[in-house]
């Protein structure tokens, strides 16, 4: 599978395949730019993220399409071809500049020793900039991790969501421990291609603070957020999603993601019947 290898300083390289990119056109343009040898440092406007200057590029998306995102999930690589920057997050992060929020193309998620990769990025804040190398590579498709995963089930049909432990290290387990639950998902009014529904009032998280708040939900992402009434709600993105309310950007914690294509997920979610959310103890190989 086409992808690229990323090496931060002297740390072990990680690989990124393009299977989860939000834009095939962006992935093709980025691939054509490689290899890149540059420097990477702590970003000054984006939170827990590192930034590298890379050559400017042009992405020709289909007319009317826009597949960019503002939120940077830990361990994911985001490219802004117009700004000539590559971003990699190691925690709570959003692509911003002096004048506010910016948007970049999500290329994919690092595979391999992701914890070491995140540690190498985090160290830049105290240790200073280091060399960054990105080179093309044929990479193995990332395997889903063994361990618990969520299932959205309607009758005999189920869609599996693998955990995103870097964005929800606590929330995933807290939610899993309180399942199963029944949820009715409805289209969001402000936020694009996302469905949301109330989780049972009995479900608690002992906090209203969000782990790794994200406004952008990448397609196929399941997230949780506090609702206005004090309960929590479940959100499932099936395309371009930026969480918003009547007063601006809103935030949720991404907890899991499905590999089901976004358009298929969108059709599956259309049926207005209650869906059961449960946890499966271990994902099969």
């Amino acid at each position: 599978m086409p992808g690229f290898e990323v090496q931060v300083g002297s740390s072990e390289p990680v690989t990124v395949d393009y299977s989860r990119t939000l834009s095939k056109e962006a992935a093709d343009a980025f691939a054509a730019m490689l290899p890149v040898n540059t420097m990477i440092r702590q970003a000054e406007w984006c939170g827990q993220a590192a930034v590298a200057s890379v050559p400017h590029g042009t992405v020709r998306e289909p007319a009317g399409a826009s597949a960019r995102a503002a939120s940077l999930y830990p361990g994911w690589l985001v490219w802004d071809p117009a700004g000539g920057v590559l971003l990699a997050s190691y925690g709570r992060a959003e692509y911003r500049s002096a004048t506010g929020v910016r948007y970049g193309y999500v290329l994919g998620r690092a595979a391999g020793d992701r914890q070491a990769f995140l540690a190498a990025l985090a160290a830049l804040h105290s240790d200073g900039e280091v060399a960054l190398t990105c080179r093309p590579a044929d990479v193995d498709a990332a395997q889903p991790p063994r361990g618990p995963r969520f299932l959205l089930r309607r009758g005999a049909d189920a869609v599996a969501f693998e955990p995103l432990p870097e964005t929800a290290p606590e929330s995933f387990g807290r939610l899993a421990a309180q399942l199963p639950a029944e949820v009715e998902l409805a289209a969001a009014r402000w936020s694009g291609q996302v469905r949301h529904g109330a989780l049972p009032a009995s479900l608690t998280f002992d906090t209203r603070a969000l782990e790794h708040p994200a406004a952008s939900l990448y397609p196929g992402t399941m997230a949780i957020a506090p609702a206005d009434n004090g309960n929590w709600e479940l959100l499932v993105s099936y395309g371009r999603t930026e969480l918003r309310g009547p007063e601006g950007m809103a935030y949720a914690t991404p907890i899991a993601q499905t590999s089901l294509p976004a358009d298929e997920l969108g059709k599956w979610l259309e049926t207005p019947t209650p869906i059961s959310l449960s946890v499966e103890a271990e994902s099969p190989r």
Binding site: Q42, W45, A93, R96, H125, G128, E129
Partner: protein
């Protein structure tokens, strides 16, 4: 007028407290001197370095508030972390979910500014630096 000195990677500068505009924050800063702290580059707010001094964050949440940090100033974000900010360029009080927060502007650096803040700027690519802060003089208000 209370004056203090900051030394960062061997580069020394002096500053003056804004006691009229920010009496509580100025008094807390003065009470903490001398001290040693680690300066790192801003992650959310742009062209500035910062350190954590928790007593400073608890001094006041309403004195001389700014959202854009004045260049060559010292400001502090209210809160438990006590984020003291050393702005060398375009910078703003921000966090992950807040694009415009507030901070108390309590001091200005007025000697050797360019050299000192060049070292602060250097934390962007060079990483953490150790700051030494000390009292210089305490003169009667004129």
């Amino acid at each position: 007028m209370k004056r203090f000195a900051l030394t960062l990677s061997g580069v020394r500068a002096e500053g003056v407290l804004l006691e009229d505009a920010a009496p509580a924050c100025s008094a807390t800063w003065w009470s903490l001197l001398p001290f040693t702290a680690e300066i790192r580059h801003f992650r959310w707010g742009g062209a500035a370095g910062y350190t954590s001094l928790p007593p400073m964050g608890l001094a006041s949440d309403s004195e001389n508030l700014v959202t854009f940090y004045p260049r060559f100033s010292l400001c502090v974000r209210p809160g438990d972390f006590g984020e003291v900010v050393f702005a060398y360029g375009q910078a703003q009080a921000r966090s992950h979910t807040i694009l415009a927060a507030w901070a108390c502007h309590f001091a200005d650096i007025d000697t050797n500014k360019d050299a000192f803040f060049a070292v602060v700027h250097g934390t962007m690519t060079g990483g953490m630096r150790v700051l030494e802060a000390a009292r210089v003089t305490e003169e009667p208000n004129s």
